[in-house]
């Protein structure tokens, strides 16, 4: 199920106004974005079961505000933007400091995802990603995994377009030097 398919289901729901179409849309959005948001929000939520629960809350909260989504734009942009804001707002309410979490995230030892590594290259990539700050990691996720454009990433993260471009260029350089010995 692609992002366009989710958007199409949303449009269908808006046209038909039926309960069935509504259920189809929410189910599709839930299935597509629950696991993606868990990965996207890892820098803020960690990797435990709490992360899964929190993402469920965030998604349901976003669905309650579905009237703010404009289907002329990508659904992914809307959902990532809203989820990110809700997550960070939630953390602020709990008096967490994002910067501290980001600094803590520069992991040095073993991480759960290493369990899923199938080969050495992936292990190295995982380590390189874990060394990134929370903010750089979300750029990398949106750019490499979701294959979003800089403009969309800027919209989601609330950063100026120039900053996103600059950070991505820096991350690329950093990755190139860190991973140059392996497969570049």
């Amino acid at each position: 199920m692609s992002d366009d398919s989710v958007k199409e289901l949303y449009r269908k729901w808006q046209r038909e106004k039926s309960e069935r179409a509504r259920q189809d849309f929410f189910s599709a959005a839930w299935t597509r974005y629950h696991s993606r948001l868990q990965v996207f929000l890892t820098p803020w939520l960690g990797r435990g079961a709490e992360c899964e629960d929190r993402v469920s809350e965030i998604l349901l909260g976003a669905f309650e505000r579905i009237e703010t989504y404009n289907s002329r734009y990508a659904f992914s942009t809307w959902i990532y933007n809203l989820a990110r804001k809700r997550c960070i707002d939630g953390l602020r309410k709990k008096r967490f400091v994002t910067e501290e979490l980001a600094a803590d995230h520069g992991g040095t030892g073993e991480t759960p995802e290493s369990l899923y590594m199938r080969n050495e290259d992936k292990r190295l990539v995982g380590e390189a990603i874990n060394r990134l700050s929370a903010e750089d990691r979300e750029l990398v996720f949106l750019y490499f995994y979701e294959e979003m454009k800089y403009r969309e990433i800027a919209g989601i993260t609330g950063k100026p377009l120039g900053t996103v471009k600059f950070r991505m260029s820096e991350i690329r350089k950093q990755m190139k030097s860190e991973l140059s010995g392996s497969f570049v």
Partner: protein
């Protein structure tokens, strides 16, 4: 650089695939409730403010009524009627909200 791009994508694909997606609880249908609630809340607030004004500043209310040059009997009837209407308005809106919340 293409290799890095592929490896990054593969890494995130693995991570996403490793996450468990719990069954969804369908969110409540969005109805016209919210739109209705705005004016209801405004009306309720106006009634409460009106009542407060009557109780705390009776002289203002009295002066305004006198300016209307009403006959004394109508003035007295009106003066008694307004607080009752406000009170009933508040009761009605509170009951309505209670029913909607149920």
């Amino acid at each position: 650089m293409d290799d890095i791009k592929k490896e990054f994508k593969a890494y995130f694909e693995d991570e996403v695939a490793s996450k468990h997606t719990p069954p969804m609880q369908m969110p409540e249908p969005v109805s016209g409730k919210k739109r209705g609630k705005v004016w209801e809340n405004l009306f309720l607030a106006a009634c409460i403010l009106g009542s407060l004004a009557l109780f705390t500043q009776p002289s203002i209310y009295d002066t305004q009524l006198r300016r209307m040059h009403l006959p004394m009997n109508k003035y007295e009837a009106f003066k008694e009627e307004v607080p009752r209407v406000l009170f009933e308005g508040i009761q009605y809106m509170k009951n309505r909200k209670g029913v909607m919340n149920d």
